[in-house]
């Protein structure tokens, strides 16, 4: 049952702009979409999306972003529409909250504001994000909404693969959508995790993360005439250590990546790039760095078989539940363009994180990468993505 699943389309809406191309160009040009510590989708992008998709203009930003990214992905995959044998999996953690938190605050201060709050409350349940997206896509097949914090989209991508492998669906549209909100911005600030400048993952002087918003979707199918890449393995684990901090030795993350390699039937030496979660927080980068080092260079020697490790979050920020999908789009582009990005902003590598940082963009075709994610609540998820030529012959 474990066979690689083809990725045939992708779309994105990020603080860098609309579409995967602008996202990838931002990465290779090292042009961060983060302003004042946050990665917001610009007002002009939102206006452009509403003009392009008037049918979704009245929905919440999370739904609008998700719909726009879905339509891009489906267009590239030549999927005219979704049918009953397809699947739809969405990941988000607070996608709907921005629509009601202002009215909630007003209502809690003054009960005279019950009516606007009542209206917004009707639309705040996270499940409605998926319902609304499904209605816009006229979709009636199997669907799922994952809210497992920052690992949600990586989990969603893995489960889309599982659904196709198990025959539950023939094709699956999968992605994540996230919107900046008072809850997340002030909440992360209260944990002293936010950086006011673009993040510098794995740097000795890193000062925190940049929250961002946006959406990305990918089309998965058993076989494709024009696969962009293949999803060839996945793994999950839980830290059971702390609600908001990863296991300091990265034990859970190590197990998730190990499981992903196992389902892909690969040795660590066959992986060329670890696209790290790399948020820029002290605890995340340290824990993830230990996990990567222990899996890929347990003897702490860096050689030609040791994979490059980098994070792209300086460029697009950390879109929480959508981050795994946004970074999956970059994984596809890295394989297609034969380029492994370096970590923008990394000037002084933290000596306690003993991984192989690309000094600059690494050029050359390669076969496999692993995408890693850690999340609040201790959820870890990883997937292995492989070059289309690698599996296309199978």
């Amino acid at each position: 049952m474990s066979f690689p699943v083809a990725i045939s389309g992708m779309g994105s809406v990020t603080c860098n702009g609309i579409g995967p191309e602008i996202l990838w160009n931002s990465v290779i040009e090292e042009k961060s979409g983060v302003t004042a510590g946050l990665g917001r989708v610009s007002e002009s992008s939102v206006r452009g999306l509403k003009d392009l998709h008037p049918e979704a203009a009245s929905h919440s930003p999370a739904v609008l972003f998700a719909y726009a990214a879905s339509k891009q992905a489906m267009k590239q995959a030549h999927w005219g529409s979704l049918n009953d044998t397809d699947g739809l999996i969405l990941a988000t953690t607070t996608g709907q909250i921005s629509s009601w938190e202002d009215s909630l605050i007003a209502f809690l201060k003054n009960s005279d504001h019950a009516e606007p709050f009542q209206h917004s409350f009707r639309h705040q349940a996270l499940g409605l994000t998926l319902n609304n997206l499904g209605e816009l896509l006229n979709f009636k097949g199997h669907s799922l909404l994952l809210t497992s914090a920052c690992s949600a989209a990586t989990q969603a991508i893995a489960l889309a693969t599982l659904w196709i492998q198990s025959g539950k669906v023939k094709r699956c549209l999968v992605g994540g959508s996230e919107v900046l909100s008072t809850l997340t911005v002030e909440g992360f600030k209260s944990l002293q995790l936010l950086s006011e400048t673009p993040s510098t993952p794995f740097d000795l002087h890193r000062s925190g993360i940049n929250l961002s918003e946006g959406s990305a979707f990918l089309c998965f199918e058993k076989q494709s005439d024009q696969p962009l890449a293949y999803l060839s393995g996945y793994g999950f684990s839980t830290d059971a250590y702390h609600l908001a901090s990863p296991h300091p030795e990265g034990k859970g993350s190590f197990r998730a990546m190990s499981a992903a390699l196992k389902t892909a039937k690969l040795d660590p030496s066959q992986v060329s790039w670890v696209h790290a979660h790399g948020t820029g927080s002290k605890a995340n980068d340290q824990a993830e760095g230990i996990a990567i080092q222990q899996l890929f260079n347990p003897d702490k020697t860096l050689n030609t078989e040791t994979p490059w490790v980098s994070s792209t979050k300086n460029i697009h920020g950390h879109a929480l539940g959508a981050s795994g999908a946004i970074e999956a789009v970059l994984c596809v582009q890295s394989l297609q363009n034969c380029l492994i990005p370096n970590t923008t902003g990394l000037l002084t590598p933290d000596p306690n994180i003993q991984v192989k940082h690309p000094p600059s963009m690494i050029k050359g075709a390669y076969r496999h990468l692993i995408k890693n994610t850690l999340g609040f609540g201790g959820n870890n998820a990883s997937f292995v993505m492989s070059n289309a030529q690698e599996w296309g012959r199978a």
Binding site: M1, T93, T94, I97, E101, L104, I105, L108, K109, A114, F117, Q118, F121, R122, A125, L126, G127, L128, L130, N131, K140, S143, L144, L145, L146, T147, S148, A149, A152, Q155, L159, L162, W163, Q165, S166, K168, T182, L183, E186, G187, F188, K189, S190, L191, F236, S237, T238, D239, A240, Y241, H242, L243, A244, G252, R255, G375, F376, G377, G378, N379
Partner: protein
């Protein structure tokens, strides 16, 4: 592959009072009601089960940690102070993180949410994980509370006969083979979980007490009554259908 139900448990806020473990354990001091009810329902489901270390874990919740979210935002709006303890518990995944920590669950864990069909989706994902070979067994827990401050709003949104209530339920599911290996006699075998969000049935069924994730709670009741089909009408008259068969050997 037949999916066996090995244990069920339920909880609600009335049931929590006599539960001394939750009262006495220091780790529960700052736990939310979702976390406490979820924990109690799991303990009840696991009364004859000692293999949680081999399980995956799916948690379903529609409103998530809405009370913590409300308190966080209220506190921030009125005092300008954002309280980290409220924030880390305010995300949907907070309940799962707490329960995984309390129960030492290290396998695959997922939080899902699907409005009126949250319970059904959680159960379906548990089945998917087993059938996909990711885990030999899965703990599926659903939990929802309604903040007193928000309940009045919710009640105004739906017909008067619908009474919102809190509640949690947990199921342990596995394969028939694994159940035999563990020497556990299944309560029943799940045959199908179907959601029909677009279908409408006449409003003759009195839903009574309801929350978005209470499918498992209702299922646990009727499985013990040995019925083979449960049709669950939702507030918008859509419905789900869960079928199971009984142990015949």
């Amino acid at each position: 592959m037949r999916i066996a139900i090995l244990g069920t448990g339920t909880s609600n806020h009335h049931k929590l009072d006599p539960f001394t473990e939750i009262k006495l354990k220091p780790s529960f001091r700052k736990a939310s009601l979702n976390m406490k009810m979820g924990y109690q329902s799991i303990r009840e489901a696991c009364r004859n089960f000692s293999h949680l270390d081999e399980c995956g874990f799916v948690l379903g919740t529609s409103y998530g940690e809405i009370e913590n979210t409300k308190e966080f935002l209220k506190n921030f709006a009125t005092t300008g102070v954002a309280r980290p303890i409220l924030f880390q518990s305010s995300l949907h995944n907070g309940t799962l993180g707490f329960l995984a920590l309390e129960l030492s669950i290290f396998g695959p864990t997922f939080t899902v949410s699907q409005h009126h069909f949250t319970g059904e989706h959680a159960l379906s994902l548990g089945i998917d994980l087993i059938r996909g070979g990711l885990v030999p067994a899965c703990l599926v827990t659903t939990v929802d509370i309604m903040s007193p401050a928000l309940l009045s709003i919710l009640e105004r949104m739906y017909p008067p006969h619908l009474k919102w209530k809190d509640g949690a339920a947990s199921f342990i599911i596995s394969t028939e083979t694994k159940a035999k290996e563990w020497g556990i006699k299944p309560l029943a075998f799940l045959d199908s979980v179907e959601c029909m969000p677009d279908a409408k049935i006449p409003p003759e069924v009195n839903i009574g007490e309801f929350n978005d994730s209470n499918a498992l709670e209702l299922l646990s009741r009727v499985i013990q009554e040995k019925l083979g089909e449960l049709i669950l009408q939702k507030p918008d008259r859509s419905f789900s259908r869960i079928t199971w068969s009984h142990v015949t050997t």
